[in-house]
C-alpha cells in the first residue's frame, strides 16, 4: 500500500516536471516571435510585374557603399559603389574610376558610409542626387539619381571622422560635414594629453552648384574641441540655421566611455549659416593651408579626374558674434531632428531616459533677451529652461533618432530598450510603442526629416540580428524592419536583411526617380579619348612599351578578337567600348592573368583594364556578362611574345 502511494506520487511529480519543462521550453522558443497581423503579407507583397511604392537608400555602413531597396517589399535592387572598390563592375579598379578614390592619404579603397541624404528643393526631396558621408577618411560623395552612379567625392580637411554629415539644407544650398573626433588644427605633432590646448573641431559647409551638383568647400568654422556627432538643417521659420549635436564637452581624450559621460548636459550647436555666408562675403575669414582631394566623374568622357586643393576659408566664432549658440542638452546627445514645421528640435541622448525638444521661437527669444549661462570660446550657452519646449517622458532608454510622419507625430528609436516610441508633437505624450529586433539605431520614414513626409511606412534599422534569419555562422547580415504607421497603432509588417551596417536611410516615391532614369549612354556623346565608337574604329596601337587596344563589344563578338605583337613587359591598355544602345545589354571583359577585377561596360560606355603580361603564351579573354544566345562564343586571344613581332589584329571592317 505504502509502495503504491510512493509510485503514484513519483508519477505525479515526474508528470508535473515534464509539463513545466515543456511549457517553459515552448514559451522560451517563442519569446521573441513578434505578433504580426494576418494582413501583413498582403501589405508587403508586390506582385510580379508591378513596382514598389518607394525607393529606399540604406547606407552600407562599413561596406562603404549605398544600397537601393524597394518598399514595401524590402527587395534589394542595387548596391551603388561609393567608397569601396567593387570587383563586380570594376569600380575603383578601372583606369576611369580609380581617381574617384584618391585622397590626401593616397588611394583609399574603403570607407565607413553612414548617412545618406537626398537633395531637396523647398525642404522636400527632389530626386536629383543623394549625398553620403565617408566617416573614416572624411569625405562626402554625390550620387547621380539618373544613373545611380557616384559622380563626385570631395575630401573634408581638418576633420577626424566625418560623422555629422552629409545633411543638406532645404534647397541643397549646402551639405554639411563635422568632425566626430577633434584633432590638432592644423594637424601637428603634439602630445595627446595636450588635447584641451591644441585640439579643435571643424564644421564644414560644402556648397552645391544648383545645376550640376558640383561641390566645393565654402567655409569651415573652428569650433571648441568636442565630438560633433549628428546634424540636421532648420526649415520654415528656422531656415538658415543648422543644428549639430556634440558630446565630450569634458574634452577628455582617454576612456571616453566614462570620462565623456560626466557632464549632465552637453550641447546642440545652433549655427546661423546665413550669417556665416555674410561673414565670408565680408572677408571675416582666415585662409588656412591644408590638403584635400576633389574627384569628379564625367558621364561623357566616362572618366573621373582628381584635383588636389590646398586651402580653405575658416571662420572663428569669436570674430562673428551671433554665428553660433549652444543649447544645453542632457546626457551625451546623439541625433538631432527638426520637425516638418521647422519649429521643434528633438534630441536623442545615448544615456537619456527622456527626449528634450527645443523650441526655435524660444531660442530666438532667449538670444534677444540674452538668457545666457556663460560661454565657451566666444560661443554663448543659452539657458536650458529658456529654450526647452517640452520633454518626452517614458520614451524608453537611450533615445537616438526621431523622424516625423507629417500628421503631428514623431517616432523615436530607443536603443537600450529596443523599441520605437510614437509621441505627439506639442503634448509630448507617448501614444504607442513597438519592439524592434534588436537594438534599433536609426529609423527612417520616407521624407521623415523633410518638410512634407510621406508618412506611410517606417523602417527600423537595427544593430543586432541574432536569431531573426537562418544563421550563417558568426558573421551575419544586418536587419531592417518595416512598420506600418498609417493607422493609430504601429504594425510590424516585414523583416529584411541588409548589407554592411545600415546607419541612416532615405526614401522617395518611386515615380519621382523612375521618370528620369537613364537606360543607356548615347554612343555619339561618348568623349572617352580611347573610345572606338564603331567597329571601323577598332584598332591596336603600339606607343613604346604601351599597347592601346581600342576594342568594341557587341552581341556576340569583340572587335578585334585576335591580337598579336604584344611583348612580355608591355603595359597593355584594353579600352573596351560597348556599342549596344539597348537597355540592359552590358558586356563584360576578363583576361587570363589580369591582376584586376573584370570590366563591366554599360551600353555606350568605355572602360579600361591595364594588363601586364609576365610570360609568353596565348591568353584567352571573354565576355563575363551573359549577353546573348552566343555569349559563350564572345571571346578572343592575345598572343604574348618575347621577340619583336609587329602588331597585328583582325578587323574586316
Amino acid at each position: 500500500m505504502k509502495k503504491l502511494k510512493f509510485t503514484k506520487l513519483s508519477i505525479a511529480i515526474v508528470s508535473l516536471i515534464t509539463v513545466i519543462a515543456i511549457f517553459g521550453a515552448c514559451s522560451r522558443s517563442g519569446r521573441n516571435k513578434a505578433m504580426v497581423e494576418s494582413d501583413a503579407a498582403e501589405k508587403v507583397y508586390v506582385a510580379p510585374g508591378t513596382y514598389d511604392e518607394f525607393y529606399a537608400f540604406l547606407s552600407g555602413g562599413f561596406s562603404g557603399q549605398l544600397s537601393v531597396y524597394g518598399l514595401p517589399s524590402g527587395r534589394l535592387f542595387k548596391v551603388i559603389p561609393v567608397y569601396s572598390q567593387n570587383p563586380e563592375n570594376g569600380y575603383g579598379y578601372t583606369e576611369e574610376t580609380k581617381p574617384m578614390l584618391m585622397t590626401s592619404h593616397g588611394f583609399v579603397p574603403w570607407d565607413d558610409a553612414h548617412h545618406p541624404d537626398l537633395s531637396q528643393t523647398n525642404g522636400v526631396p527632389d530626386g536629383r542626387w543623394i549625398f553620403i558621408n565617408g566617416n573614416n577618411t572624411p569625405r562626402i560623395a554625390r550620387i547621380n539619381l539618373k544613373t545611380f552612379e557616384t559622380n563626385e567625392i570631395i575630401e573634408i580637411p581638418n576633420t577626424g571622422g566625418n560623422h555629422a554629415s552629409a545633411f543638406v539644407t532645404p534647397n541643397t544650398e549646402y551639405v554639411v560635414a563635422a568632425t566626430r573626433f577633434s584633432v590638432p588644427y592644423p594637424q601637428s605633432d603634439v602630445s595627446i594629453t595636450d588635447y584641451k590646448k591644441f585640439f579643435k573641431g571643424a564644421i564644414s559647409y560644402i556648397k552645391v552648384e544648383p545645376g550640376t551638383g558640383k561641390m566645393s568647400i565654402a567655409f569651415q568654422i573652428l569650433m571648441p574641441g568636442f565630438d560633433y556627432d549628428l546634424a540636421h538643417s532648420g526649415k520654415g521659420p528656422s531656415f538658415g540655421w543648422s543644428f549639430f549635436t556634440c558630446y565630450n564637452s569634458e574634452q577628455s581624450q582617454t576612456l571616453l566611455e566614462v570620462n565623456a559621460s560626466k557632464n549632465d548636459k552637453d550641447f546642440i550647436a545652433a549655427v546661423n549659416w546665413k550669417k556665416a555666408e555674410e561673414a565670408v562675403a565680408a572677408g571675416k575669414f582666415k585662409t588656412m593651408n591644408c590638403n584635400y582631394f576633389h574627384n569628379v566623374y564625367n558621364d561623357e568622357t566616362h572618366s573621373a579626374t582628381s584635383e588636389k586643393l590646398t586651402s580653405v576659408k575658416v571662420l572663428d566664432p569669436k570674430d562673428v558674434p551671433g554665428l553660433i549658440y549652444y543649447l544645453p542638452t542632457p546626457k551625451s546627445p546623439h541625433g538631432v531632428d527638426v520637425d516638418p514645421t521647422g519649429e521643434y528640435i528633438a534630441c536623442g541622448g545615448k544615456l537619456a531616459a527622456m527626449i528634450p525638444v527645443h523650441s526655435f521661437t524660444k531660442m530666438k527669444k532667449a538670444i534677444e533677451e540674452k538668457k545666457f549661462d556663460g560661454e565657451i570660446d566666444g560661443i554663448p550657452i543659452l539657458k536650458y529652461d529658456a529654450v526647452i519646449a517640452g520633454e518626452v517622458k517614458d520614451c524608453g532608454l537611450g533615445p537616438l533618432h526621431t523622424e516625423f510622419d507629417g500628421k503631428g507625430y514623431a517616432y523615436t528609436s530607443a536603443f537600450i530598450t529596443s523599441e520605437v516610441v510614437k509621441w505627439k508633437v506639442g503634448t509630448w505624450q507617448v501614444v504607442d510603442r513597438i519592439p524592434s529586433y534588436y537594438s534599433i539605431g536609426h529609423l527612417m520614414i520616407p521624407g521623415g526629416d523633410c518638410a512634407k513626409p510621406w508618412g506611410k511606412y517606417l523602417v527600423a534599422l537595427n544593430k543586432i540580428t541574432k536569431d531573426r534569419y537562418l544563421p550563417t555562422g558568426p558573421e551575419m547580415c544586418q536587419a531592417a524592419q518595416l512598420i506600418d504607421i498609417s493607422g493609430d497603432k504601429m504594425k510590424l509588417l516585414l523583416d529584411f536583411p541588409t548589407i554592411g551596417e545600415p546607419h541612416y536611410a532615405q526614401a522617395i516615391p518611386a515615380e519621382i526617380l523612375m521618370k528620369n532614369n537613364q537606360k543607356i549612354f548615347p554612343i555619339e556623346q561618348n568623349k572617352h579619348p580611347y573610345a572606338a565608337k564603331g567597329e571601323k574604329e577598332a584598332k591596336v596601337v603600339r606607343d613604346g612599351n604601351n599597347v592601346h587596344i581600342y576594342m568594341t563589344m557587341t552581341r556576340s563578338h569583340f572587335m578585334p578578337d585576335n591580337i598579336e605583337g604584344v611583348k612580355v613587359g608591355d603595359n597593355v591598355y584594353i579600352h573596351t567600348t560597348n556599342l549596344e544602345q539597348d537597355w540592359d545589354v552590358p558586356h563584360g571583359f576578363a583576361i587570363l592573368g589580369a591582376e584586376y577585377s573584370e570590366l563591366l561596360v554599360m551600353p555606350g560606355q568605355t572602360r579600361t583594364l591595364v594588363w601586364r603580361p609576365k610570360e609568353v603564351g596565348v591568353y584567352p579573354f571573354y565576355c563575363t556578362d551573359f549577353c546573348s544566345a552566343l555569349h559563350q562564343e564572345m571571346s578572343g586571344y592575345i598572343r604574348v611574345s618575347n621577340t619583336n613581332i609587329p602588331i597585328s589584329y583582325n578587323n574586316p571592317n
Binding site: Q581, D582, A629, L630
Partner: protein, 194 residues
C-alpha cells in the same frame, strides 16, 4: 461632275500630303525579353525605329539569322516614293478641279496600279529579307524563313511580328476608297444628273 464630288476629290488628294510626314506602315516585334516592345515605321522616304535605337537593335538581332541589315539609304524605293505620291496628288487635283470624269478614271487606275505594285514590292522586300540569308549565319534552322506577314501577325521564333498600315497608310487606303466610291457613282449613278 457635281461640285461636292469635285471638292471631295480635291480634299482627298490634299489628304495624301500627310504621308510626307506621318508613317505609312509599321512592323512591330514583341518578345518576352523586350517588354517595352520594338518596331519599325516606314515613312515615305525613310525607315525609322519606333524608339530611338530600335532599328539598330533589330539589325543587331537579325545578324544572328544572317538577315541583311536594313539600311534605309540602300532602298531605292524610298527615293522614288515622294515623287510617286506627288504624282498621285497632282492627278487627283487635276481630276477634282477639272471635274472631268476621264481624269478621275485615270487617277483611279494609276492609284490602283501604284497601290498594287507598291504592296507587291513591299512583300518582295519582306520575302527577300526573310529568305536571302547569309549562309555563314550563327543560327540556321533548316526550312525556316523569317518573312514577316504583309498584313497581320505571325510568330517568328521568340518574336510576335505584326505588320499593319500606320496612319498615313490608312489615309492612302481611305482616299482610294473615296475615289472608288465617286467613280462607282459616276459610272452607275443616274446619267442625267451628271
Amino acid at each position: 461632275m457635281k461640285t461636292k464630288f469635285k471638292i471631295l476629290i480635291v480634299i482627298s488628294s490634299l489628304l495624301l500630303i500627310t504621308s510626307y510626314f506621318l508613317p505609312i506602315w509599321y512592323i512591330s516585334l514583341d518578345a518576352p525579353q523586350y517588354p517595352e516592345g520594338m518596331g519599325m515605321q516606314i515613312f515615305i522616304n525613310d525607315i525609322r525605329g519606333e524608339k530611338e535605337h530600335d532599328l539598330k537593335n533589330i539589325n543587331e538581332l537579325n545578324h544572328y539569322i544572317g538577315m541583311n541589315r536594313i539600311i534605309p539609304d540602300s532602298i531605292s524605293e524610298l527615293k522614288y516614293m515622294p515623287f510617286i505620291i506627288g504624282a498621285l496628288i497632282l492627278l487627283g487635283l487635276i481630276a477634282g478641279i477639272s471635274g472631268k470624269k476621264i481624269m478621275l478614271y485615270i487617277w483611279m487606275l494609276v492609284y490602283f496600279i501604284i497601290g498594287a505594285v507598291g504592296l507587291y514590292d513591299f512583300w518582295h522586300w519582306e520575302y527577300d529579307y526573310g529568305h536571302h540569308l547569309n549562309p555563314e549565319a550563327a543560327l540556321k534552322i533548316p526550312g525556316m524563313s523569317y518573312q514577316p506577314p504583309l498584313i497581320g501577325s505571325k510568330q517568328i521564333m521568340n518574336f510576335y511580328a505584326t505588320s499593319m498600315p500606320d496612319i498615313a497608310g490608312w489615309i492612302i487606303f481611305g482616299v482610294f476608297f473615296i475615289g472608288l466610291a465617286i467613280t462607282t457613282i459616276m459610272i452607275f449613278g443616274k446619267k442625267k444628273e451628271v
